[in-house]
């Protein structure tokens, strides 16, 4: 999972290096996956930061123990999220079921809100949807993107950094950064459409 690209092929290589004892590979693996796992858990534990940290740690440790079984059929992050779902269930059970946890990719509340929007088709996102729910959906979409895509989008559209600086942060040329941003935007749109019943232009299907 290098900064240039994230694919099952590059993930397989990363895992291979980790299994061979490459400390640098371990560092890249941890930096690329732990924050994503933390956010994945946080969104499903309704902001419980300690719980999310515990879940993310448990997941990353379990995944390392089973690293030899990773076949590269999905991205490493997608593979890790399967562990995370199980761990979230365990976490809630251990906690006596006190914490509400949402494990569905289609949060019922988000879906309901989006369905409402669909019924009124063509309306403005800000006025017709609970902004909080849309924000949560966007966060989930970002969580499913390769970490460097999500970083690049955040730097570009929230921090409004110039492409040159984004390239600098990723250690790639301006041209490569532009190309990466294009791929990131495309990936975001695709993921957003997959994960919501909305069309990306805000209308119902």
């Amino acid at each position: 999972m290098d900064t240039e690209r994230q694919s099952p092929e590059s993930d397989r290589e990363l895992v291979k290096r980790m299994l061979a004892g490459d400390g640098g590979a371990f560092g890249r693996f941890f930096d690329a996956t732990y924050p994503a796992l933390y956010r994945f858990a946080l969104a499903r534990l309704h902001g419980n930061r300690d719980g999310a940290a515990d879940v993310a740690q448990a997941v990353i440790c379990q995944a390392i123990r089973k690293l030899g079984t990773y076949r590269g059929e999905a991205t490493l992050l997608a593979w890790l999220y399967t562990f995370a779902r199980h761990e979230l269930y365990r976490h809630v059970r251990r906690d006596g079921g006190r914490l509400p946890v949402d494990l569905s990719e289609d949060d019922p509340e988000i879906s309901a809100a989006l369905e409402s929007l669909r019924a009124t088709s063509g309306g403005d996102l800000d006025t017709q949807l609970d902004r909080h729910k849309v924000a949560a959906l966007v966060q989930r979409v970002l969580g499913h993107l390769p970490i460097h895509y999500a970083n690049a989008l955040e730097w570009k559209y929230i921090d409004e950094l110039p492409v040159q600086e984004i390239g600098g942060r990723l250690g790639i040329s301006v041209k490569a950064a532009e190309s990466l941003l294009t791929r990131a935007r495309l990936a975001f749109r695709e993921a957003f459409q997959t994960m919501s019943p909305l069309r990306a232009d805000g209308t119902g299907s």
Partner: protein, 334 residues
Amino acid sequence: MTDDGLSELLKLAGRRAVPDEHHQARARAAAHAEWKRLARRRLWRRSLWASPIAAAVVTAVVLPAWFSSPPAPTPGAGHAQAVAMADIEVATLQMVTGAITVTPRNGDATRATGAGLRLRSGDRVETAADSRAMFVLRGGTIVKIDSNTRVSLDRGVVALDRGKLYVDADPQANDRDVVVRTRLATVRHLGTQFEVRFNGRAVVVRVREGEVAIDAAGTKWPPLAAGWAMDLSADLRPERDQIATYGSEWSWMAELPRPFTLEGSTLRAFLDWVSRELGRRWQYEDQSMRERFDSIVQRGAIEGLTAKQAMGMVLEANELSFRETKEGLVIVRR
């Protein structure tokens, strides 16, 4: 979705949450420990398959180097370490079987946790019916806690609220002043291995090696030596009994073997470790074996094995075996 629409959505969502440094440092340490174990296990498997077992002068061994040394600083953990030090780190969890919980003194929520966690002054560690834990105090003394046990940690003090704990104070450990405190008595080690059990009504101290000093209600009892147990009930009338220093009564702690790195060490060092873990002396079948025990360097890993399991494997790879006698373990040729 236009570029503007995408920008609007991202701005609406805001920055993604970032795990705090303390959590991240803790997770990195735990993940690193898992990864080291995995890498060593694979290395050992490779080396085992690479060489014919019959020619195995080269053996196996186990517990990862990180395990026997003080916890290494984790990359990017500077701030977390500073925060932890302010709370006084008193121990590090080294091994956990099953699920355990740690409750910090500051009232933060109880959390399930695993190996690698730095324990701080005031932390309460609790095992369930199916879990055990081992932690190492800052000076190097090992403390193992059995199932259904609750302990609280402070600097130099392990308070046993209930259950069983085992202290393995290696002669090289640098915390001679460690005490185990229960509501009925305080047990101070004098360079030793011992177990303390407390059920709320009585405390039982069993000494495997060395001796311990016991202080109850202002009374200092004569030191309790290896092979002896003292049962002290709430009426403070002690009963002393001779006990075996090995066998089933000591088996629970064998599930949590003291860290040992054999990679590069001698067979003698390995057997000394086994001896300490099992509470049994060892000897050669004949003195002609002596040189071999001091010169053969062991290699590999036996991660996850108890001392007895590891001994079987390592001796086999060295074309040796053992038999148990009343006096201890006798190492014999195969």
